[in-house]
């Protein structure tokens, strides 16, 4: 029954690089957009806050699938230029999760105690130095655990790219399904789920490392080890 196991494994393994590429690209874009939009939400200028708020609410308020289809089907009709599916996917992953990340950044920066700002004034640090040397290092410790969860969400969302024919893990599986028998369908999906689990564990352990470093940098003890092996949520 499992004669096709090597075929299944090699097929799905070939989908891993596009999935990883989409996830890494999406995460990079998410970080950039979260930082820009998150800080913009805290701007003194009303117009800057408003622009950022509209971006955040728009992308959090609509469905990721709709965003993906819009960029993939509507944008070409408007501008007459078809964007490469994988690139479209990375843009949507980044825009969507960047909107959630912006709120994380905003919350974390606001959680830095007022006294830290007063101390910066006492030391007559410039606003730039205050942000770079005092506020952000502390805010980053606060935001990292939430970003771990966000990146896991993003990793899971890469599966949606199969809907716009990116040759990632899920689409490779869908191409196999019609040709294979009963027990093999289950094998395909099981392997897919395990691949995502493995990638999720990688993301989590990488983030744990960053969390420990960021905490050590501001002289805090590392946060207590949490029991969830993939998502890091205590249970």
């Amino acid at each position: 029954m499992l004669d096709n196991l090597p075929l299944i494994l090699s097929s799905l393994a070939a989908g891993v690089p596009p999935t990883v590429f989409a996830a890494v690209g999406g995460i990079a874009l998410t970080i950039a957009l979260s930082a820009v939009a998150g800080l913009a939400l805290l701007s003194r200028h009303r117009a800057v806050r408003a622009v950022s708020r509209v971006y955040v609410e728009f992308f959090r308020g609509t469905s990721e699938v709709v965003q993906l289809f819009w960029i993939f089907f509507v944008l070409p009709a408007l501008v007459g230029y078809q964007i490469v599916p994988l690139a479209a996917g990375i843009v949507v992953l980044g825009l969507n999760h960047g909107a959630y990340g912006a709120e994380i950044v905003r919350g974390a920066v606001r959680s830095v105690p007022r006294a830290q700002y007063d101390a910066c004034t006492a030391l007559s640090l410039s606003p730039w130095d205050r942000m770079r040397r005092v506020v952000l290092p502390q805010a980053v410790v606060e935001m990292l655990p939430s970003f771990t969860n966000l990146f896991i969400q993003l990793l899971k969302s890469t599966a949606l790219l199969s809907l716009v024919v990116v040759d990632e893990i899920v689409r490779r599986g869908q191409l196999l399904v019609p040709n294979l028998g009963v027990g093999e369908k289950l094998t395909i999906y099981l392997v897919e789920l395990l691949l995502y689990l493995g990638l999720a564990v990688l993301v989590t352990s990488g983030m744990r490392l960053l969390e420990r470093r960021a905490a050590a940098r501001v002289g805090r003890p590392p946060t207590a080890a949490r029991s969830g092996f993939a998502t890091g949520v205590a249970m």
Binding site: G61, S63, A77, L160, S162, Y189, L193, L197, A230
Partner: protein, 219 residues
């Protein structure tokens, strides 16, 4: 091609999109009911430390929520028929949503249960109340109201994830939009309207949840 946006066409496709939206909302509501009920069962099993079972549940919850809902929906829709359980798109979709989100809601309930003061457990033990009355008469009535806003947020997340069930043939709003644009070769109006319909539902819903949060915080 007539301009970028054709109002006549937009008005023409709106009724079909609204029917699709009804299916999306229906799937969300049914999925939520399942997620709320199943999540509670999972939370109680985890909290009560039922031997062996709680370890299995814990591993399953971690596994299931680290993996994509889309693949899980395929498993339920395409693999279950092989073992004699054939489900329609809506039923399979609702089960996929409910099971996936139960893994999140169990976590929410857990936090709510932990927030109930230890004294309540001790008092219930002192009165030697039966197990079921401890849970349903003492602990849950205090834990659940506190976590309603968090559950509400998951309902909104779920609503936005329903469109991926188009992969298993659920005719929800985005499927309708895709069909309309394939028939007319005009993707702009149907897909843009579909996006706006999501905003139209989820923005008021988030405002409602935020208000619940504030009230829960004040109470």
């Amino acid at each position: 091609m007539t301009g970028i946006w054709d109002w006549g066409y937009a008005v023409e496709v709106l009724p079909a999109l609204l029917r699709g939206l009804q299916v999306t909302v229906l799937a969300t509501l049914l999925g939520s009911v399942l997620a709320f009920a199943l999540g509670l069962v999972l939370a109680i099993v985890l909290r009560a430390r039922v031997p062996v079972l709680h370890r299995v549940v814990r591993a399953f919850v971690e596994f299931w929520r680290s993996t994509p809902l889309l693949v899980q929906a395929y498993v339920i829709y395409q693999v279950l028929p092989d073992v004699g359980i054939t489900l329609g798109s809506l039923a399979a979709g609702v089960i996929a949503l409910g099971l996936h989100y139960a893994c999140y809601t169990s976590e929410v309930y857990r936090a709510g249960i932990e927030a109930v003061p230890v004294g309540q457990w001790e008092a219930a033990a002192a009165l030697s109340l039966p197990r079921s009355r401890v849970w349903f008469g003492v602990i849950l009535p205090q834990a659940v109201p506190r976590v309603l806003p968090a559950l509400g947020n998951y309902v909104i997340s779920m609503f936005k994830e329903v469109p991926l069930l188009l992969a298993i043939g659920l005719v929800e709003v985005v499927t309708v939009a895709r069909q309309l644009s394939a028939d007319s070769f005009r993707p702009v109006e149907p897909l843009t309207l579909a996006g706006l319909l999501f905003l139209l539902v989820s923005l008021p819903a988030s405002i409602l949840v935020r208000r619940m949060e504030r009230r829960a915080g004040a109470g």
